[in-house]
Amino acid sequence: MNLSLTVNGVEHSLDVPANTLLADLLRSQLRLTGTHVGCDTSQCGACTVHLDGRSVKACTVLAAQTQGRAVTTIEGIGSPDDLHPMQAAFRDCHALQCGFCTPAMILRAIELVESGSALDNRTVREGLEGNICRCTGYHNIVKAVLTAGEAMQEQAR
């Protein structure tokens, strides 16, 4: 089937089989391999991307369901020379070890901050309930989100 969507600001027009998952479209067709697939069944959150600004698990969205919509992946939010404040905070707070969960954590955390909800230890942990990390024990992830949250909310003011 024919599909048009915007990924990281670039318009794409593609011909894909109907059973293509958004995660596979991003990784295999568009070669945006920062979106990871951990479980394939909506449990781990490693495949989280933004669909029209909302975080979704790309392993549980059909490419067909993104017709005419805008997708943002980790490749679209910052670059090595110009990190997004959330990326910078993850680096500064040592919020990653193997890094497998990190792109998804960052995208989910950005939506959490941008939603404008009050940020504290509890709300951040609840907000990241859909993202599993097997390495860090979460403490430094929470610290990074709180740090970046302050910086981002400061910037927005």
């Binding site: 109907a18 998952l21 449990q43 909302r54 059909l62 989910r108 859909g130």
Partner: protein, 268 residues
């Protein structure tokens, strides 16, 4: 995932017609139950009929004593809706506790009710809030809707369009979430309709149910202690690796008492 034909009908009538003509079709709503079952190859429909964008299935409207919610409304929209917060804060709380943020950004109320997972949250609300489930062809009272494990009164090709909830004077939902999935190990909604109390229970048995003895006791006196000795509903309690039947039976009473305590304290 096995191949299938994907359809995006532009009208409700077209959706139903596509369903009738296809070999082994399935409606697609938020996809957060259906797509994981397809990736695990537990289901392999020949045709997916996407319900997104059908106007009959969208919108939230408070009309007097009824709050009407379109079947395609996503959990996050229910949680964030000022209409729902205003008329039925207990329902907004319930929606906010479904799964995780990503699940709430996709999953829909209609999909949840159509699926009738024994551990889903909305069925408890549908029963406690005396909901009317509207479909493309009729209205079904929630009391007649839940039939068994993943079994509802819906016909194969029937589409839920809206859910009309009766607005109580006060209500509260308490669940004991499975720590991994956040599904309800047991969830109980207590709703007070000016002295007539309804209790909806999910997670406990094969499908959501009411608790007649709890309702009688709470209608006589709305206090947690009224439930100390009230009879549990006569159902086959689920037993699995998450909780034994005895533990679930215990949780039903505790969750009902916690919900009652919140109502009695006037915080809901």
């Amino acid at each position: 995932m096995n191949p299938f034909n994907y359809h995006k009908p532009s009208s409700l009538a077209a959706a139903v017609a596509l369903h009738r003509d296809a070999e082994d079709p399935a409606y697609l709503s938020g996809g957060h139950t259906l797509l994981p079952t397809m990736t695990q190859r537990l289901a392999a429909p020949s045709d997916l009929i996407d319900l997104e964008g059908l106007t009959e299935l969208t919108g939230i409207a408070a009309q007097g004593s009824v709050l009407s919610i379109g079947a395609f409304t996503r959990h996050a929209e229910v949680a964030a809706s000022s209409e729902v917060r205003g008329a039925l804060p207990a329902l907004a709380d319930l929606a906010e506790g479904v799964g995780d943020a990503q699940v709430r950004n996709r999953g829909t109320m209609g999909g949840s009710l159509a699926n009738s997972d024994p551990a889903a949250d909305y069925p408890a609300a549908a029963l406690a809030l005396n909901a009317v489930i509207r479909t493309d062809r009729r209205e079904i009272a929630a009391d007649d809707y839940f039939r068994g494990l993943f079994e509802t009164a819906l016909a194969e090709d029937e589409v839920i369009t809206r859910i009309d909830f009766a607005v109580p004077s006060r209500a509260a939902y308490e669940k004991f979430p499975n720590p991994a999935s956040r599904y309800a190990t047991v969830g109980v909604m207590v709703a007070d309709f000016r002295g007539a109390v309804r209790v909806g229970i999910t997670g406990a048995g094969p499908c959501a149910c009411r608790a007649p003895a709890f309702e009688a006791a709470l209608s006589a006196r709305l206090a947690p202690a009224s439930l100390d000795d009230a009879e549990l509903p006569a159902i086959d309690f689920n037993s699995d690796l998450h909780a034994s039947a005895e533990y679930r039976a215990h949780l039903v009473r505790v969750m009902a008492q916690r919900a009652t305590a919140r109502i009695a304290a006037g915080t809901d």
